[in-house]
């Protein structure tokens, strides 16, 4: 603590953080608790402990279909977005050119567009080129939305690199491709892995755009909406808990990788 810290401000800040955590995690925790509750409707006092809702979704082919779509989309999107993101980040690291700021602004733009507009625009465009209403459409849309995240993560890592490192490799007889393979990618590896996990998590959770373009090949979040519209079932809680666990695992993995990387090189 520095000398000019103020107890009141400290306490207020701590309270603020506590409130944030409570408001974010209380609903999730509630959903998790009710997913293990035998009652048909979420109400207090709680009924018996039960894994019934998990058994039901385990046996539901409808949920499995959505889950498979989500996983396939997530995996493919992670790879595409990370490759695109790496390309963008490396271009920024390596080259100076006229209009570079415009290029960077465009490359990092997608997450700033409201998702409803993005979804509509994607639907309009993809249907015009006859690519809407399938898994491919979700992959394309999510690839566009996720690559800026990958680019930001990898760009941050490359900015920690000694700019002489690449030239040093060239100077030691390594041509540009060999240097990319033996120096740039190994240096960026933790960020590349983190980008894979985070883009997968983003694609996993993304609902609005997927809802617009997925057609019949719905991903899990879109299926959940379908569930909610049809009947209110505690199965939603079970699905939600599982989806939350998978996302948070991916994000924690990414954070661990990035922290370890920036500690390794100073």
């Amino acid at each position: 603590m520095t000398g000019n810290s103020n107890r009141l401000i400290d306490a207020a800040l701590k309270l603020h953080i506590a409130a944030c955590v409570v408001f974010i995690f209380a609903p999730i925790l509630g959903s998790f608790v009710f997913s293990l509750n035998s009652d048909r409707f979420p109400s207090l006092p709680l009924g018996q402990f039960s894994t019934e809702w998990y058994r039901l979704i385990w046996e539901d082919p409808f949920v499995w279909a959505g889950f498979f779509n989500t996983v396939i989309v997530g995996l493919v999107v992670a790879v595409i977005a990370t490759v695109l993101g790496f390309g963008g980040a490396y271009t920024d690291f390596r080259y100076k050119f006229l209009g570079k700021n415009v290029y960077l602004a465009l490359a990092l733009l997608p997450p700033t567009i409201p998702v409803v507009i993005m979804g509509l625009a994607m639907l309009a465009f993809l249907s015009r080129v006859s690519l809407s209403g399938s898994t491919i459409s979700v992959i394309i849309a999510h690839g566009v939305m996720c690559s800026p995240f990958a680019m930001a993560i990898i760009r941050l890592r490359l900015s920690q690199m000694d700019p002489d490192l690449e030239a040093a490799a060239w100077n030691l007889g390594s041509n540009e491709w060999a240097t990319l393979r033996h120096v740039i990618i190994p240096f960026a590896r933790p960020a590349i892995l983190a980008a894979l996990f985070i883009t997968m998590a983003v694609s996993f959770d993304e609902f609005a755009v997927a809802w617009f373009v997925s057609g019949l090949d719905e991903t899990l979040p879109v299926k959940i909406l379908g569930f909610l519209q049809g009947q209110v079932s505690p199965r939603i809680n079970a699905i939600g808990s599982l989806a939350f666990l998978s996302s948070i695992t991916l994000i924690i993995l990414a954070q661990v990788l990035l922290r370890r990387a920036s500690r390794g090189t100073s």
Partner: protein, 368 residues
């Protein structure tokens, strides 16, 4: 350029009218010189003088805008750095943080397709030679500054190049370690017999290690010569000021009898021995230096002719001291004497003293 007589005939590098421009900025302006096989050449100058750009052109990291560079007789303009064998030791060292010490040293061999077993063998030989074999499996982050320096040298030398380029490699080390690494570098260069091109802003590094020194300023080469030549016969005012150990006087040539010149300066008429000076006509401007160690101090009471100046301060330099004085016209002069010689002279600030010297200890700057 009479100082370039010491050019080697057996040159490994030849720069032929080399210039480098970045947009409208000229980093290097017409560099013409040769570097001999097995020579230790230092390129010295303050930051932005073009010394590093010159080195990077030799390495193939920059391409000359004009002129040609010959390496071992071959014109190398446009040849990428990875196709040359001109390894460089970087100011930042640029060691690969994700590789072990041994893998760092092996890198150059691996990129040239040397097999695993031979690579390992040769890397270990060099690690042993640099006395860091025990750290072979460590991470770079676990090494001290001096050890990293040795890894960088081993990595650059493992391919057994004919020429090694060094870009201020010692600037990050503390003074004590710097002197030790200078000895390591000097010995290494003699043992290997290969050419070292060493870029530095430090006169002590350049003059203590190099066979020849190139002094650059604002993209131009001011003087090339052995440390002794440059020290005793600076070519122009820039070099004399850069060396910092001489007093510089300028004036009009008013009298000539043989090599005894009379120069009219702001301090009156001064006698100059123009032994190695270029021919000048009466009325020409002459600039000459007098080494601080060649100045003598007298007091008013001695009644000798000389320049009057007042003491400004004193600085101890080991066994001697440098006395700084200021003339009535505001010019700063300095005198370097042993403590014994200064004993008995009042050196309090403001004390008026008389400075004088032998005409033979003057050096006329030929480039002015």
């Amino acid at each position: 350029m009479n100082m370039q007589t010491s050019i080697q005939t057996d040159a490994i590098v030849r720069l032929d009218g080399v210039a480098k421009r970045f947009g409208s900025f000229t980093a290097v302006e017409r560099a013409d010189f040769e570097i001999g096989r097995g020579e230790f050449l230092a390129i010295m100058g303050s930051s932005g003088c073009g010394k590093t750009t010159t080195l990077r052109m030799l390495a193939g990291l920059e391409d000359p805008s004009e002129g040609a560079i010959y390496l071992d007789g071959e014109r190398v303009n446009g040849k990428p750095t990875w196709a040359r064998d001109t390894p460089m030791v970087w100011q930042s060292l640029a060691l690969f943080p994700f590789l072990s010490v041994q893998e760092n040293v092996e890198f150059g061999l691996k990129m040239r397709g040397v097999g695993r077993a031979e690579r390992r063998e040769r890397a270990r030989t060099w690690l042993d030679r640099m006395q860091i074999l025990e750290f072979a499996d460590r991470n770079i982050a676990q090494l001290s500054g001096g050890q990293r320096q040795r890894v960088a040298l081993a990595r650059a030398l493992v391919t057994e190049p004919k020429i090694l380029l060094l870009d201020e490699p010692l600037s990050a080390l503390d003074a004590h370690l710097k002197v030790r690494m200078q000895a390591v570098l000097s010995n290494l260069q003699k043992e290997l017999g290969i050419t070292f091109v060493y870029v530095t802003h430090s006169m002590s590094e350049a003059f203590s290690m190099a066979d020849r020194v190139v002094i650059m300023s604002r993209g131009r080469i001011e003087q090339i010569g052995t440390p002794r030549e440059i020290y005793h016969a600076p070519r122009n005012r820039f070099v004399a000021e850069f060396l910092g150990s001489a007093n510089i006087f300028s004036g009009k040539l008013v009298g000539k009898s043989g090599d005894r010149w009379q120069v009219e300066t702001g301090h009156g008429r001064l006698a100059v021995a123009a032994t190695h000076a270029p021919d000048k006509a009466l009325g020409d401007t002459v600039t000459f230096t007098v080494g601080a160690e060649n100045m003598h101090i007298a007091t008013e009471a001695d009644g000798l002719p000389g320049i009057r100046a007042r003491v400004v301060g004193e600085e101890f330099v080991g066994a001697s001291a440098i006395v700084f004085l200021e003339t009535a016209t505001g010019e700063e002069l300095k005198v370097q004497k042993s403590h014994d010689e200064l004993a008995g002279i009042d050196l309090h600030a403001g004390t008026p003293l008389i400075l004088h010297w032998e005409p033979d200890s003057c050096h006329v700057l030929p480039g002015e």
